[in-house]
Symmetry: C2
Subunit: 237 residues, 2 copies
Amino acid sequence: MDIHFETIGIIRSCFKEKFGIPRQAGLVPAATATLELLPPYNQAEAFTGLEGFSHLWLLFLFHGNDRQSWKATVRPPRLGGNTRLGVFATRSPFRPNPIGLSAVELERIEQQSGKIILHLKGVDLLDGTPIIDIKPYLPYADAIATAKGGFAAEAPKGHLTVNFLPEPEQTCLTLEQGDYPDLRQLIVETLRNDPRPAYYQQRPQKNSFGMKLFDFDLRWEQDGDSITVTELHRSDR
Amino acid sequence: MDIHFETIGIIRSCFKEKFGIPRQAGLVPAATATLELLPPYNQAEAFTGLEGFSHLWLLFLFHGNDRQSWKATVRPPRLGGNTRLGVFATRSPFRPNPIGLSAVELERIEQQSGKIILHLKGVDLLDGTPIIDIKPYLPYADAIATAKGGFAAEAPKGHLTVNFLPEPEQTCLTLEQGDYPDLRQLIVETLRNDPRPAYYQQRPQKNSFGMKLFDFDLRWEQDGDSITVTELHRSDR
């Protein structure tokens, strides 16, 4: 079945590579993003009434995946990467139809000179993600208080402590005076959820990691449950 | 952007036509359906772990829509059909990319002779709906207790009273002894939500309605908030 889908908008996010992206929406509240609608979807009237909703569903394409095939089972990081579960029992991005689903907070809707830009919070989306649908979050239908969540019944603990060396701490403070007011909070929320691939938990010899955040290179070291941010500087890539 | 999507399974549901389908999942708990997986997705291991989840997300195609185009605004039945809202502020099936999203209850997973069949409850799905993805419902990410629901903050009232004339009542009792154990409950839950298109609420002269349910023709009359089921018999269509 070949279906013609239109990309209705593109995500601009602080997450510039897959490593470090929160594993579900809402886990990193400080992760903000914008969604700019593409023509012909950049019409104010197509969004009339959306401002009354605090959250919305984004349907998107997992566009950063090189792997084209799917496998019947995957190894969720939540289970330490050792246990195989069915792909349909997980939110793995490697699935028969690479569509993602995220409930994100809608902060505000910006209209300017023919542009419609949604300002979002709590995203788990790679920069450049193509959006194929936006739906309002309907609490009476979507917030199922009695639902049982299998192997992922609770949120990940987010239990790591995050400290900064003096130099990246100072850089962070400086950047917060400018265009990145919640940068420290974003770094702490991102790292405390342990972004390492599950198989690193069996590799105690490797303890230094890096990711891109906005256009900065962030590096940290991990020792047990303790993380130290060692570097934060503008990327030269 | 042309993307190749695979239909991974097909819904078999009591709802054989669009009229009468609940307007969201969960509004008619007695609305059961099965989802039979198509090859190569009919592998037991692709569902390992799903049995621990009480609910799942179905992503599906709105296949029964004749209209190919989308409009920037729609008139939600919830607002009486008089008010235009942006298409992205609604769950209207007429949208740029005709993908639907439903959180349904997973009753059980049946495996028999190479088949995988998911038994579902609370569906709002037309018979024959093509499914393109199944994801577990993750309470910690998806059940947002604080979400605000705009013009659809509360569930529809489901306030109509539903009575049966003696003949369809008897037919119902007989059918409940056979293959349709919860038929009366299904009829009551479906009709009390007022399945009429919004514009009928301004047409008091028309008060007789019909829909197909399984392979039965169901007819009822509506007088204000009171519904009387007048006919229930096997369809000869």
